[in-house]
């Protein structure tokens, strides 16, 4: 019995189910208790599971991740909430030097099943530090896995799969999509869900491949619909997993279409689009009709809210890139 719920609510359901299924799962972060988080993703969970399972922490991100490491050593499965993308950096040292490395350091004898939830991306008219897309900082770090969801169903399943995984996972949530609705079958078995580390063709097409993830998937799909009206049949791939990237799906598509455009909000320079372009070119060199083009945030700090519309990739910029690809 599928329900129509928002992406935020889907995450809330997924977290609840994870708390129900495994008493070792604990949620920790700033304001995740009574308030239910500033986005209400943990709404009601402390009331139902208690203050030991849903922990309001001191205001210290390094502390959140550092103590999560200790809890994981103790046998817990911490799910940490970072309140906004721009506030993960105090924890960066614990994430890249400890979370990412302890399994390797211990020759595999230690596992840190930690999930770090980060609401990311712009488009909500916020002040500085509340609209960033830091995914590349983590995807460039061996030892971490990085995933992101673009719709309610994926949100519901991917958060549960991430908590179930023994890998440390950075879970990016497209905050501006928290309120978008979609169908989710809340009672389906987790085992039947689409695999966590797999990309999905969100819209099959033949003429060009548009690669997007998180908040930009909707933009890519809208662009594809618009392009269809001009008789261009775009294939849209939702990456879902940013580290590792599910390349086989991508290569197969680009070999068919001969053109690829990558879309993300993060600054273009050294963003996910760089690696995707490099890998696609290595693997599909003779299939490419044009270089892989990138539609990304500009290489500036995230600007003031009243400039973000110009800063963020949108339907027009995606279509423009597609045009340039065809014009090559």
């Amino acid at each position: 019995m599928a329900e129509t719920i928002t992406l935020g609510k889907a995450l809330n359901h997924g977290l609840r189910r994870a708390l129900e299924n495994d008493s070792k799962v604990v949620i920790m972060g700033e304001d995740v208790g009574k308030l239910g988080g500033v986005f209400r993703i943990t709404d009601g969970l402390q009331k139902d599971f208690g203050e030991d399972r849903v922990i309001d922490t001191p205001l210290a991100e390094a502390g959140i991740i550092g103590t999560a490491v200790g809890l994981a050593i103790r046998g817990y499965r911490p799910v940490c909430e970072i309140q906004f993308d721009g506030f993960v950096f105090p924890a960066y040292n614990q994430i890249v030097a400890q979370v990412a490395k302890m399994h390797y350091r211990s020759k595999g004898k230690l596992r840190l099943p930690i999930v770090i939830r980060i609401p990311y991306g712009g488009g909500i008219g916020a002040v500085e530090h509340h609209s960033e897309s830091p995914e590349a900082y983590f995807a460039h770090t061996p030892g971490l896995k990085v995933v992101t969801c673009s719709n309610p169903a994926d949100a519901y399943w991917m958060i549960q799969q991430s908590i179930l995984s023994d890998d440390p996972i950075i879970f990016f949530e497209p905050k501006r999509r928290y309120w978008e609705k979609g169908e989710v079958d809340l009672s389906a078995p987790l085992s039947e869900a689409f695999p966590l580390h797999a990309a999905r063709v969100a819209r099959p097409g033949t003429d060009a491949t548009v690669l997007a993830y998180g908040p930009m998937v909707r933009v890519a799909l809208d662009a594809a619909s618009a392009a269809a009206e001009d008789g261009r049949n775009l294939e849209v791939i939702d990456l879902r997993t940013l580290s590792p990237v599910d390349y086989p799906v991508i290569f197969e598509s680009v070999r068919r279409t001969g053109r690829a455009v990558v879309v993300h909000e993060a600054p273009g320079n050294l963003g996910m689009g760089a690696e995707l372009a490099a890998r696609i070119t290595e693997e599909c060199f003779y299939s490419l009709e044009a270089p892989v083009l990138r539609v990304a945030g500009y290489d500036t700090p995230y600007p003031a809210a009243r400039l973000e519309e110009e800063y963020l990739p949108d339907l027009d910029r995606v279509l423009d890139a597609v045009d340039r690809s065809f014009g090559w």
Partner: protein, 379 residues
Amino acid sequence: MAKGGSDAGTDVPAGGFVQLLTPDGKRIDSVTTADGTTYSVDFTDEEYRDLYRDLVTVRRLDAEAVALQRQGELGIWASLLGQEAAQVGSGRALRPQDMAFPTYREHGVLYCRGIDPIMPFGLFRGVDQGGWDPNEFKFNTYTIVIGAQTLHATGYAMGVTMDGKTGSPDGEAVIAYFGDGATSQGEVNESFVWSGVFNAPIVFFCQNNQYAISEPLERQTRVPLYQRAGGYGFPGIRVDGNDVLATYAVTRAALDNARNGQGPTLIEAYTYRMGAHTSSDDPTRYRIASEVESWKAKDPISRLKAFLTKEKIAKDDFFTEVDDTAKKQALDLRERVLAMPDPQPVTLFDNVYPNGSGELDDQRRAFTDYQASFEGSGH
């Protein structure tokens, strides 16, 4: 720690605080703390009235901002409601040469620095991210990342010492503002370490408004915050943050110690956030009305008004005039906020690097051409 006036009564937290004006408007001549320091103020009637005007004005301007936000003219607003005395008391204690490092809530301190209150509105309206020169106003840009500014203030204070600007009554001092939640951030504690080691001329001014968004103080500490200082080798003191007189006296003394070369002080201004954390917050989810009520009784403005009235320092016509003037300022502010122009799209490429970047210039050019391609296209 002094218990404040003998009849300061039930509003005094365990551990006490320095209080010179009780909630019911009774002035205490002087308070001597355990370490033997005596605090008092001797203001002229004029000065008392000015302080009252400050308190009323910053509250009125804040209320206007709250309204502007509700009407969609600001993206967000962090209200100072309830913290007027902490901000006016400390703000007025600053001398012209002193440097302040605010969070995102110090609109009252900004006002006391003589800065046009519209300055931070660009940030909250979303047309810029501050955009002022910290050195021009001796007031740093608002810092949103919790605690980061305490290290900036410490470094700046080290520079003051290196410049030989301490050790005399006209020396320079630095004040770093932060909240109770910020005391848990590693960087804030590092600023304590550094200030102790370098004997920096700095005052750490912590507005303990009892909450970090939804989290009450006990999620940050199980002992009073002012006690944090001792372990770093400098004094900590708690003051009634709803008492503008005590806040002024304690901050002025700490700043003068700093400028005289006696190093850092941590001040915990014990107060309460009467409103929501920001306009995005819903405090009813995490605190009860009766708590808010109990703090209403400790209101910083009504207690000063009671004192001014009782002591016949001011009469009704004065209070009315202050309200009217504040209202005029608020309406003027509103008009100017509404008149704030949106930034030109291309400016998003400006001021990334003092020396610029060829790469970025190319992106700016491509952006301009792209924008131009829509001209007349109805976009």
